[in-house]
């Protein structure tokens, strides 16, 4: 298969289009602008293609709500501060059981922070993406190729379980170019039967809604949604990891690449280190982590944050193993030597 050099942002957009997403609603924010720009160029050339630069992130996510609610596959993308603005709409999308894909090309925060790469939105994505009882499947690519593969996967999960899905990447993955192949992505988009798009006198009326004033009804609705979440946990949880390592280094996204280099350095010095890399952040791959740490003496978690995924790691391990942290903030991507030194430290300690 022919490979082309592409930025992660552009590859994500192209993958979405190839899989049949013809509607995109966005708003400019660095470092995700290439997604919006790519869509603005490509979609008007496609029959039925829709591109709208909204008045705000809030506008964009509610256009997604309207589009998905009318039964049409669609997506939006943004970066950290913009995702905070989208939080309202994401909650409504979850409440109305609407599929869509939301891409977060993370940058540093809080506030305006920086436009440089960061992984400080892990908590937001996995624990508190909006008000109410809700989860959204969160995929964590670590290469431009995975920006493609996971975009395709995200639409599949979104539509199969009727839920918004987030791709949690970062400025590095968005801006970086790598060789990428689009393989045989199938255009499998179909109009959702529950879409409110005019009943045409042929079916009962469809209502897109998240309001249930009757407690019994809302409780039933939330329970039904959580049954779907259970199915997502069972079927969609994904991780890749080395087996039988003494020191397990857990990292996702960009940091997992750097960790891999660091682990190789450690192995070259005779330290039995291994990588644990969640590909889904919610659901967090608890079983896989247990398997990866079966014989481990300690776990190191590395993130471009002050430590967020580390909480899930500790909980998954039921606090039975020592878990330490190495992180960078402010837009710094850790280099392999820094992490290697920390692995060495753990190797000596445990």
């Amino acid at each position: 298969m022919n490979k082309v050099l592409m930025k992660g942002n552009e590859a994500c957009a192209e993958a979405a289009i190839r899989s049949g997403c013809k509607s995109y609603f966005g708003y400019p924010i660095t470092p995700q602008n290439e997604i919006t720009a790519y869509m603005s160029k490509a979609l008007p050339k496609i029959d039925g293609g829709v591109f709208v630069q909204a008045e705000s992130e809030i506008g964009a996510i509610h256009m997604v709500y309207g589009c998905a609610g009318s039964g049409v596959r669609c997506m939006t993308s943004s970066s950290s501060p913009g995702i905070s603005l989208k939080a309202e709409g994401i909650s409504y999308l979850a409440g109305a059981d609407l599929p869509c894909v939301i891409v977060n090309i993370q940058r540093g925060g809080p506030g305006l922070g920086t436009i440089q790469p960061s992984q400080a939105d892990y908590f937001q994505a996995t624990k508190a993406i909006g008000h109410g009882d809700l989860k959204i499947p969160t995929l964590a690519p670590n290469s431009v190729q995975e920006m493609v593969d996971m975009t395709v996967k995200a639409f599949e999960i979104a539509e199969k379980y009727r839920t918004p899905v987030m791709i949690l990447a970062d400025g590095l993955l968005g801006q970086m170019m790598e060789p990428v192949s689009f393989g045989n992505i199938k255009n499998n988009a179909e109009v959702y039967p529950y879409g409110a798009n005019g009943h045409g006198g042929k079916r009962k009326k469809n209502i897109t809604n998240s309001l249930y004033l009757d407690a019994l009804v809302l409780e039933k609705c939330v329970n039904e949604r959580f049954e779907r979440y259970t199915k997502i946990v069972e079927a969609e949880t994904d991780a890749e990891f080395d087996k039988d390592a003494d020191i397990v280094v857990a990292a996702y996204g960009s940091t997992s690449r750097v960790v891999k280099s660091a682990v190789e350095m450690a192995r070259a010095e005779g330290i039995n280190a291994g990588v644990f890399r969640p590909k889904t952040l919610w659901p967090f791959p608890e079983k896989q982590l247990k398997e990866a740490t079966k014989n481990a003496k300690a776990v190191l978690v590395s993130e471009m944050s002050m430590g967020q995924m580390i909480d899930d790691v500790k909980m998954a391990l039921e606090f039975k193993l020592p878990v330490e942290f190495y992180g960078r903030q402010g837009g710094f991507v850790p280099n392999p030597v820094e992490i290697f030194k920390k692995i060495k430290e753990l190797g000596g300690k445990y």
């Binding site: 490979k3 050099l5 660095t30 470092p31 436009i115 440089q116 400025g171 590095l172 801006q175 970086m176 170019m177 790598e178 060789p179 690449r257 750097v258 960790v259 891999k260 280099s261 660091a262 190789e264 991507v333 850790p334 280099n335 392999p336």
Partner: protein, 181 residues
């Protein structure tokens, strides 16, 4: 191409720092290597100093951020000052001497770094190739490192000038001037 290259290209925004880096990445891709290209982005692109990391390797690439390059292209004084000291021993640095005075700079390379000075911006002016100093620098780099075959370089140039075919010959001329300097 046999070893791993960690390349940093740096200069003013507008000098084609990212484009030159992309050309190197395309060459790596054509040679069947693992490749990453990662730009400094944001305000750095708007006329300040700009740089781009390219990693080319036989094995999967960890960090695409090059902290200690074995090949540096420095296209102006500030880039030379900032990055010359980061070049790994055994590495090579290519400096546009029209805009960077390596002798006058307080920053010095570590031992074992070979520095090539060439007045790329002046050469571009003299040859009616304004805006192609970056490609002249590439020509020199390719020549001095045995980076890739002439055939691969030409193929990569075809790729990066796709849709702007009139630029192909000019770029090839710039490569030649760099290589022959």
């Amino acid at each position: 191409m046999s070893k791993a290259y960690e390349i940093l290209t740096a200069g003013f925004g507008g000098q084609g720092v990212l484009f030159g880096a992309k050309m190197l990445a395309e060459i790596g891709l054509l040679d069947g290597k693992e490749v990453t290209w990662f730009p400094a982005y944001g305000p750095a692109m708007r006329g300040g100093t700009c740089n781009c990391s390219v990693v080319i390797s036989d094995t999967p690439i960890g960090s695409p951020v090059v902290a200690s390059p074995n090949l540096l292209i420095a296209m102006n004084g500030p880039s030379y000052d900032k990055f010359i000291g980061t070049v790994a021993s055994g590495g090579k640095a290519f400096v546009d001497s029209t805009l960077a005075n390596s002798d006058a700079s307080a920053s010095k390379p570590v031992d074992g770094v070979e520095v090539f000075n060439l007045p790329a911006t002046q050469l571009a002016l003299d040859n009616n190739l304004v805006g192609m100093a970056n490609i002249i620098m590439l020509g020199k780099l390719i020549k001095e490192t045995g980076f890739a075959s002439a055939e691969t370089v030409e193929k990569a140039m075809k790729l990066v000038t796709e849709g702007k075919e009139h630029l192909f010959d000019l770029n090839m001329k710039a490569l030649k001037i760099g290589a022959e300097y």
